[in-house]
């Protein structure tokens, strides 16, 4: 991947002026090239493969209807889509092929549910009764996948863990996605309605997806500074109170059960039994989603929580808009009467599944907001330090996300102010030639100040633990 090396070593002023004059047209082009990018460490031996995968992910249509992987996984929106993002897209965006391609007008998407709830149509249980047999699901982000695919039963991909054809692996996922989402017509004839990815393309796509976001698990508890978030973390890891850490070990996607690593497990948590799901309110004809397998067993795959707060709406059917609502779900009848909830309550000395007061719900959500913000800050710093093509705009977006996630919960106002300063400096750096390095340095300082407001220093004796991804 090409690198924009923006460091400006000491030079004679005339040389600098000449250089500036000659490079001005190119600088203008560079400044206009605002395409977002993920940082790829140029020393990574997989850098070329990852760069190729990135190009395929965002540009390759596989001779289909015009969509790319990036259509539903745009990097400028945390590799997912939501109604607010969808509302910013032009009418001819390939996301809306069901509205623009007559061959896909029926039974390919539900445009109303797509625009109002960010839901995508999936034919998990087959393509033989398109009118009646379908699911409406949100778009999961593709961050932190090295931590969230493996299970003792095999790889888990997609909302129900069975999203990929072939061997069910992340590498195979793209083939299923092309067949489901990329065809020109509902015949879905290979070589006519799309072409299938080659083995080399699958390798590159897998490498790229695995490079995105967090590469390691956290190690809870973190030395958080905010009292509410700190209390939320304590509830989260308390297996007799919040019980969150049983299935979301270290706020990730993996369960630790009876001391055994259960990996990225599936659970039936009763989401489908929520009484007033937005999709049902808008379109009562949407059938229930039966989850894993055909016919389904009602289970769905566990997502990571570190990346949750800025990637809502939540759950496979985008049923809940806010992170507080998502935590509160586990207090309700839908969860506590579900197979997962019943097991918890049956074994609780007081017969309680999960029961948290409102302040405790908000505290857990505050914890999730803070760790999400820390992850945003980590990514922003990495983007500013590596500085690849488009990384400034991406760093600005991550920084803004961090601020929004905190301010949305009324958390850490001083950190929010520092984050807004950082974002301003990053944006100005993108427009500046002579002050770029200084502005980036100031942005990095502001990001580190914000981080220091959220989390304390780490005990040196634990210096090699993964938690340091947020504290070094």
């Amino acid at each position: 991947m090409a690198i924009n090396n923006c460091h400006t070593p000491n030079r004679h002023p005339i040389a600098v002026a000449l250089l500036a004059a000659f490079s001005f047209p190119f600088f203008l082009l560079a400044a206009c090239d605002d395409r977002p990018a993920e940082p790829t460490d140029p020393t990574d031996p997989n850098a070329k493969l990852i760069a190729k995968g990135r190009d395929i992910f965002f540009n390759e249509t596989f001779d289909g209807n015009g969509r790319t992987c990036g259509t539903c996984h745009p990097v400028e929106n945390n590799l997912t889509i939501d109604p607010a993002f969808i509302a910013t897209l032009p009418p001819d965006d390939p996301l809306f092929v069901a509205e623009t391609n007559p061959a896909l007008a029926r039974n390919f998407e539900n445009p109303v549910l797509m625009r109002t709830l960010g839901l995508i149509l999936e034919n998990q249980d087959g393509f033989d009764d398109l009118e009646n047999n379908f699911n409406m699901r949100g778009v999961p982000h593709t961050l932190a996948m090295p931590t969230s695919v493996a299970s003792p039963q095999g790889p888990r991909t997609g909302w129900s863990g069975d999203g990929a054809p072939g061997d069910g692996s992340l590498r195979s996922f793209a083939i299923g996605a092309v067949i489901q989402h990329f065809p020109k017509t509902l015949n879905r004839a290979p070589g006519v309605d799309f072409r299938l990815p080659t083995d080399k393309e699958l390798d590159a796509l897998e490498a790229f997806q695995l490079s995105l976001g967090r590469q390691t698990e956290l190690s809870l508890p973190l030395p958080l500074k905010g009292d509410v978030a700190k209390r939320g973390q304590a509830i989260f890891v308390d297996d007799t109170l919040g019980k969150c850490n049983i299935c979301h070990q270290n706020a990730g996607a993996n369960a630790l059960l009876a001391g055994q690593d259960a990996g990225n497990a599936n659970f039936n948590t009763g989401i489908e039994n929520l009484p007033d799901q937005p999709a049902d309110l808008i379109d009562p004809k949407v059938p229930p989603d039966d989850g894993f397998g055909t016919p389904g067993d009602g289970t769905f795959n566990t997502p990571t929580l570190v990346e949750a707060a800025d990637t809502g709406p939540f759950f496979h059917n985008n049923a809940i808009e806010t992170i507080e609502g998502a935590v509160a779900f586990y207090n309700g009848d839908a969860f506590n009467n579900s197979p997962a909830g019943q097991v918890l309550s049956g074994l609780d000395p007081n017969g309680v599944g999960i029961r948290l007061d409102a302040t405790q719900v908000v505290a857990v959500a505050a914890f999730l907001r803070v760790i999400n913000s820390l992850e945003n800050i980590r990514q922003s710093i990495a983007l500013l330090e590596v500085r690849t093509k488009g990384s400034l705009s991406q760093a600005a977006a991550e920084t803004e996300d961090a601020a929004k996630v905190l301010s949305g919960g009324g958390l850490h106002p001083r950190a929010v102010a520092n984050l807004r300063d950082a974002r301003r400096n990053i944006q100005n750096a993108g427009k500046s030639f002579f002050s770029k390095t200084r502005l980036i340095r100031e942005a990095l300082n502001s990001l580190k100040k914000a981080r220091a407001d959220l989390i304390g220093t780490v005990n040196r004796r634990r210096a090699m633990r993964p938690v340091e991804i947020y504290t070094r």
Binding site: Q153, A340, D348
Partner: protein
């Protein structure tokens, strides 16, 4: 009876393990149907066998294939999915029946258990002419 926290958690965890105990991850069957013979990622020629149908025993629901290496005979169960691969004639692949298992047709069989190679999980039969 006193239940220690450790015991309670262990019991919960065990129950949860049982609850999440599921068959090994299967490929997404809905989209698998559209993948031509030999192109199933991670499956073709690893967990499957590609060959030409030598015989089909209707009564015993056993099909014999000859490809690279020794011929194999596999059972077809109620669970076995049969798909018609029409990709060579540029048409959409379809769900098929055992009647499609005709001698001479190129076929890919994915085994339920790749070590035992006895039972077909799915079968793709190549169709070269419009029917």
């Amino acid at each position: 009876m006193t239940v220690t926290l450790r015991t309670a958690i262990a019991t919960i965890a065990t129950a949860l393990v049982m609850m999440v105990g599921q068959p090994s991850t299967m490929g997404h069957m809905a989209t698998e149907r559209y993948i031509p013979i030999g192109r199933s990622p991670g499956v073709s020629n690893k967990l499957s066998y590609i060959g030409t149908i030598q015989a089909y025993d209707h009564a015993r629901r056993m099909v014999t294939l000859k490809g690279a290496g020794d011929p194999i005979t596999v059972s077809i169960t109620e669970r076995t999915r049969i798909w018609l691969d029409l990709s060579k004639i540029k048409k959409a692949n379809r769900v098929g029946e055992t009647s499609a298992l005709q001698v001479g047709r190129r076929t890919e069989v994915k085994f339920e258990n790749a070590d035992l190679r006895k039972i077909a999980d799915w079968i793709k039969v190549e169709i070269l002419q419009s029917e």
